[in-house]
Assembly symmetry: C2
Homo-oligomer: 431 residues x 2
């Protein structure tokens, strides 16, 4: 729409075109055009977005810093969203990096600890990042309806994004979902389809629907546009580095469901070094993964010295991490091994204690996934796996208000008294 | 602590000293030093912070824009918080101003409508603003314990702020509070005192405790440091103006509990004009107030043509607005009359419809107070009180996750099907 005059490029002018060049198979390396495809036609391996290195190398700190205070400041490093007017987004991201000295002290960590608090996103989980990128790519690819299978955070985010954009949505959920989780999606007014079956049944059905003619106009965020979706998680890594003053932390502790978030934060750090936006740390960085004991197939494989994931039937309170057959598990193991990290898992009691520890020491109230991460942080320190003398960033991916039941039985009033000074005195509150 | 060298003042250097000069009685104009005092010794009227006009006049747009993306960018216009290291804060503020074209269209408003979405604050309500200012002032005044009486948002915010700052807290709540609201305060680990009695009983007790020797170290955010607390609400007005490109909107619709938020947004606009940070709009601005039908003493007084508030016993689902004897009601009426505005109230069904309308058209899921505001916006348009040809900003002060029950009976799955293509087809979802 603009004229063809070649004005000199300012270093703070936003990037106008996508730096993505292809989808590449993570298994065999086969390349495909940037389209709605998530598996390799050759080997059925998962596809990942690949970029033009020259395009990435044009991105500058000044350009990023002049951008909006959300994920789109990194549009020059993402596969979609360069045209602000064409975004489908709630403008998530640039969530707080909270200094956590009291948490560090309580765990015996002498170096700084920070909490990357993604509960501050618009629908209060990191899913807003991946959904914004997926749906923006989807609209660019011509899709006119947005869909997903989900039991919680993803459903909230897709329905809210669709409402903001004025695009029809259709969210598929297991029929026995708790009412609270239904309300937080249904309130946005899209189609909400309850399936008589388990989450696995819902997922399988979505895999079938995406192949039908009737759904050819529909982008399932974590199915047919999954490669774009997954790239959204890179922004968590970019933000941490920028918020530390363009520096990569020595250690990161990241919750794992599919394992994809962990691999993308690692990828983000690598890209920043390759582009030259940050200096490569002398000792590199170390990536740690956290699962719940009720769904620990990735950590178990690592512990057993293999990278073959044996699927499990998930149990336990950390439902947002309950993916029994994690698609990116092997890649997460690769990243953790390559960087000298480790994985561990926490049981339900440890998760509850992790939520309370984080809240008490930082004022951040995390959902169960955040409890998993803090509990595993503690285990890694206690086991000598995580170096207490090195700076560490812990990722909280969701909001405690969404999983109130996890701690409802454990916390309550510390005193019950009559409404009188005597009541206060008898409770020992008047010194 | 800094040296006495008089360096030339940069326009982007942060303000180092408080511009506040005194506490002034809103009733008789008596002045008092800046201390923990909330009522006039002469006439028992409420005290308000007064500023040195010369100090305010030194604040520049460049200085604000160079500041952090939170309320503290306006430290030069607040009574406390100029020293970043001495703040007690979760760094709230600079919440999204969301364009709402679909909401406008549905209500027949032809000019732009924006939603100021304060659910994006750290504990997901506007209370984080007032608590940050109150507790920062309190620490500066020497208080070593933080307290409040509350039934919800305020309790969450005080407990979370105290946890972040590592300061003891003591929160007083009615003994019959729902468990969900107890959890969201108790999880932060401070003292939580359940009182056998109503919220009025709790409030009365706090008023007594603040006079005791044993509580002389304790700042009750909305009692003894209330004048500072109330100033935090000004930041909502500053942000709206800055986010509109340093412009005051023609019309604002604001929920009322004590009525204070409305008066402070109006005060913020006046200050910006006086300082010269924005031009005075040709037609001024118009302030509208929203209450729930279950607690409408301010709107009722306005409708009756008086400014004498007759207290009510609150009922209805908009509990965060349920103050039956609103301290700033007469001042809210003054602001609304002076600016040519109006007030109205919405019943529980209208509030539920307001929550759903906002979610469906903007992707913002508001607590009941937000439903009140949207419902009243609709009434004001329908009654011809609000000009549909003028730009309007609607304030959402809290998060839908905190009041799920309000809409839980109204929204749910749109379809229930078997996990098969036939199930999808039979539901009419396959075209």
């Amino acid at each position: 729409m603009t004229s063809a005059i070649d004005a000199p490029t300012s270093t703070t002018a936003p990037v106008r075109t996508s730096p993505a060049r292809a989808l590449v198979c993570r298994g065999c390396g086969a390349e495909y055009p940037l389209a709605a495809q998530h598996a390799c036609f050759e080997c059925f391996g998962p596809l990942e977005v690949a970029y033009d290195p020259a395009a990435l190398a044009q991105v500058t700190r000044a350009q990023i810093e002049a951008g909006p205070r959300n994920i789109w400041r990194y549009a020059g490093l993402l596969p979609a969203g360069q045209d602000a007017a064409a975004r489908v987004t709630l403008d998530p991201g640039f969530t707080p990096l909270v200094a956590a000295p009291a948490l560090a002290a309580e765990l015996g960590i002498t170096a700084p600890v920070h909490v990357k608090d993604d509960s501050a996103n618009p629908t209060h989980s990191f899913k807003d990042r991946v959904v914004s990128v997926a749906l923006t790519a989807a609209r660019g690819l011509g899709f006119t309806r947005f869909a997903c299978a989900s039991t919680g955070n993803l459903a909230n985010s897709v329905a809210a994004h669709a409402a903001r954009a004025g695009v029809p949505s259709i969210v598929f959920i297991p029929g026995d979902l708790e009412q609270g989780k239904i309300v937080t999606t249904a309130v946005y007014g899209g189609e909400l389809v309850a399936i008589d079956g388990s989450y696995d049944d819902v997922n399988r059905l979505c895999g079938e629907l995406v192949e039908t003619d009737e759904f050819e106009d529909t982008a399932f965020v974590n199915v047919n546009v999954r490669p774009f979706y997954a790239e959204g998680s890179k922004t968590l890594g970019y933000e941490v580095a920028e918020q530390l003053g363009w520096r990569i932390p020595s250690q990161v502790v990241i919750p794992m469901a599919s394992g994809e978030l962990l691999t993308k934060v690692d990828k983000a750090f690598s890209e920043l070094v390759e582009i030259g936006l940050v200096d490569a740390p002398a000792d590199g960085w170390t990536v740690f993964g956290a699962q719940s004991a009720g769904c620990n197939p990735i950590a178990t494989a690592l512990h057993q010295g293999t990278d073959t994931i044996t699927p499990v039937k998930p149990t336990g309170i950390a439902k947002s991490l309950n993916i029994g057959d994690p698609a990116a598990g092997a890649y997460a193991i690769e990243a953790v091994r390559r960087t000298g990290g480790w994985m561990d898992y926490a049981d339900d009691e440890e998760i509850r204690a992790g939520i309370r520890l984080l809240a008490r020491t930082t004022g951040v109230f995390a959902e169960t996934a955040g409890g998993v991460t803090v509990a595993v942080l503690k285990k890694l320190v206690d086991a000598g796996k995580l170096d207490p003398a090195k700076e560490t960033v812990v990722f909280n991916t969701g909001e405690g208000l969404k999983t109130l039941d996890a701690v409802a039985g454990q916390v309550g009033p510390t005193h019950r008294i009559k409404p009188s000074l005597r009541g206060v005195r008898d409770a020992g509150l008047l010194g």
